[in-house]
């Protein structure tokens, strides 16, 4: 409940201190529509201000509106709602939030800045979870708090990707553990390869793991020649590049598994299996169960394939495969 009062009064434009960011919630929204609207029909929704100790007014709600008015040169006088108290207060911030919520939802980046601001006002995590998150439409889940809290610290590129819904939010836990350089490299890799959300998850984990295994940073790992060569290869499509990189990263992440897998594929290749005869190794060679699929459309074709299978058994190919596991 907001206890402070406010009045609707005329204010001189140069008394507004828009460098005072006490209640500022950064927004990545395009300012153009607002500019067009104010230019054409004027300011319909007056800003909300609060006097500060230096005799000026800080903005509670309306940073973008004040900015547009300045850009349009409408800087003489305006009418605004002005609070009667001078002290910054979380109730007033709440007022700013509620005012915003009347005409828009907050995106994850804005929510993150809001959480940051609320904490700067000295509110505890418990209080924010209990009183503020539900108002903002995010329930009382501490996980939501944890997830969104760190977004404010991410780079502009990441924040943009989040707002554009190009990255899954659950990835952010990992991203937030990276240093600035690695984080910048990651978003560049995602963008360059145009990775979908699932692929991003897989790639991020692979890069993080391989970098750790090799005691490198992600920036160092992705600066290695094999990586940059694939990334910049002009004749490959994005998905070909992604596949090649993935293959090489798996070799580094799971060297023993990939060695056995390659050996299996070599034996398979040497056995010259005809199309329509498919032999599959157990997933990750975890069990002993191979599977065989035979496709045929005539008796003679079936016999041909069975003959080939017999040859594979006689020449030891099947045994070699079994021995691999």
């Amino acid at each position: 409940m907001i206890k402070t009062q406010f009045a609707f009064v005329p204010v001189k434009f140069d008394e507004i201190d828009d460098a005072d960011h006490t209640y500022y919630i950064p927004s990545c929204r395009n300012i153009k529509p607002l500019l067009t609207s104010i230019e054409q029909i004027g300011l319909l929704n007056p800003p909300i201000l609060q006097p500060n100790n230096s005799g000026q007014f800080r903005i509670v709600c309306g940073f973008r509106r004040v900015r547009v008015l300045r850009e349009l040169g409408m800087t003489t006088k305006l009418s605004a709602f002005v609070f009667d108290s001078v002290e910054p207060a979380s109730e007033i911030l709440l007022h700013a939030l509620l005012d915003n919520l009347t005409h828009r939802d907050f995106n994850p980046v804005e929510l993150s800045y809001i959480l940051q601001r609320l904490q700067e006002f000295g509110l505890t995590r418990e209080k924010i979870l209990a009183d503020f998150l539900p108002i903002l439409g995010f329930g009382r889940n501490p996980k939501v708090f944890e997830l969104y809290e760190g977004i404010a610290h991410l780079s502009h590129d990441w924040q943009k990707a989040i707002i554009d819904d190009r990255v899954p939010l659950d990835l952010l836990h990992t991203i937030q553990t990276l240093d600035d350089l690695d984080s910048a490299v990651m978003i560049k890799v995602f963008d360059t390869l145009r990775l979908g959300k699932n692929r991003q998850r897989e790639f991020l984990q692979l890069l993080v793991d391989v970098a750790q295994i090799q005691h490198l940073t992600i920036a160092q790992l992705t600066a290695e020649q094999w990586f940059t060569q694939i990334l910049t290869e002009p004749s490959w499509t994005f998905s070909q590049k992604t596949e090649h990189l993935k293959e090489l990263l798996w070799e580094k992440r799971y060297p023993r598994y990939i060695t056995v897998k390659n050996q299996y594929e070599e034996v398979l290749k040497a056995s010259q299996m005809p199309p329509g005869l498919d032999l599959h190794h157990p997933p990750y060679f975890e069990t002993n169960e191979f599977s065989l699929n035979i496709r045929f459309s005539s008796l003679s074709e079936l016999l041909q394939k069975l003959d080939h299978l017999e040859m594979m058994i006689k020449n030891g190919y099947i045994q070699k495969m079994i021995d691999l596991v």
Binding site: R125, P142, R253, Y254, R256, V260, P283, F285, E286
Partner: protein, 369 residues
């Protein structure tokens, strides 16, 4: 880490008590140990996780909950599809642990971050009594170390002596108290009739130091095992999870050597081996809780049961080497694999039980003699 490191006794930051157990003797006994602590009473511990909120520094294991065990205390180990299981029974006397190993699957299994002690132990003894009397021809190997460490909460719960005494009077059960802690003093003077197996989980020193949180040092665990031996207890050792790390051969061989130079082989009921494994769904939680651990960088691949395990040849190599080192000290100590297929047994040990029932019976024999 100090060579003889012993963790401090768990000091809960907050204590919550479910109203239904507030008058029970065990609850009162526990609360008496914390006379200056504020106690918060709650109606229903099941509703608790939903409303419980963590502060930013409160990730794990700071708070104690005294609650009622609503389900059965005794559960047959669920085992794993296509793997041999020793058909062990878990006795859930508590859930949660203060030691904080990076690989601990309780991080994913438990729905709240508190350490819960179930205080309706009267119900537990009645349940045990009924089970053991109703099936006089079945033999039960029971352990309390599935959802907690069996000794770490002992200074608070003081349940151990009651369990040891209870089991000493039963002909068809033994209890195994499995731990990485050393709080066993009150057990040493009991008449246990060798129906309690005191067991320690061990690992290579480097793994203990990097990934076993506040657990007692290996030296301290082995010293405790020696004390238990002197008190006439049967002992067991668990190398689980074994971690594939640089120079693992040196690390594990060293521990095997230290076991056999500290403990007489014929006092060892069994030694188990298991390699790092955990449900893939827990991967993210465990990594987030232990960002500096390198154990998640092993060649862990999803198995048929959706658990991540080391690539099979790596497991076989770990087990085979351990088996041969153990055999070089004792030809008779029973060594078994936890949650592995017959095929892995065969490759690692050169033999395999026909099925889970045979494995059970072999293990039962180790404590029936």
């Amino acid at each position: 880490m100090n060579k003889n490191f012993i963790p401090d006794i768990f000091q809960p930051r907050r204590i919550f008590v479910e109203s239904g157990v507030s008058d029970l003797a065990m609850t009162r006994r526990i609360l008496q140990k914390f006379p200056h602590q504020t106690i918060e009473y709650i109606d229903d511990a099941n509703q608790f996780p939903a409303t419980f909120q963590l502060g930013s520094d409160e990730k794990w294991n700071h708070d104690l909950l005294l609650a009622k065990q609503r389900g059965p205390f005794l559960r047959l180990c669920p085992g794993t599809q296509k793997h041999l299981c020793c058909l062990y029974h878990n006795l859930d006397v508590a859930a949660g642990c203060d030691l904080g190993c990076s690989y601990c699957i309780l991080q994913g299994y438990l729905h709240n971050p508190l350490i819960t002690i179930y205080c309706n132990i009267g119900d537990m003894f009645t349940e045990l009594d009924n089970k053991l009397s109703q099936h006089p021809n079945s033999f039960y190997r029971i352990g309390t170390g599935e959802l907690t460490d069996s000794l770490t909460l002992e200074p608070i719960s003081e349940l151990g002596p009651e369990l040891v005494t209870f089991i000493s009077k039963r002909h068809n059960a033994i209890i195994e108290l499995k731990s990485k802690n050393v709080h066993l003093q009150p057990l040493l003077s009991l008449r246990h009739k060798r129906r309690t197996v005191l067991a320690w989980s061990l690992n290579a020193e480097t793994v203990t130091q990097s990934d076993e949180g506040k657990a007692a040092s290996i030296e301290a665990r082995l010293a405790a095992a020696r004390e238990a031996q002197n008190a006439g207890y049967k002992l067991a050792f668990h190398f689980d999870p074994m971690i594939d790390h640089e120079n693992w051969q040196i690390g594990y061989r060293d521990i095997v050597e230290r076991i056999f130079s500290t403990i007489q082989a014929d006092n060892i009921a069994w030694i188990s081996l298991g390699a790092l494994r955990y449900p893939s769904a827990f991967d993210e939680i465990m990594r987030a809780n232990h960002p500096r651990s390198r154990i998640f960088l092993g060649e862990l691949l999803p198995g048929v049961d959706k658990k991540l395990r080391y690539f099979r040849p790596i497991r076989v190599e770990l087990f085979r080497a351990m088996y041969s080192w153990i055999r070089s000290y004792s030809s008779t100590v029973f060594v078994y694999l936890c949650m592995e297929s017959r095929d892995v047994w065969q490759k690692a040990f050169g033999w395999a039980p026909r099925n889970s029932a045979e494995l059970k019976s072999l293990l039962d024999d180790c404590v029936l003699q």
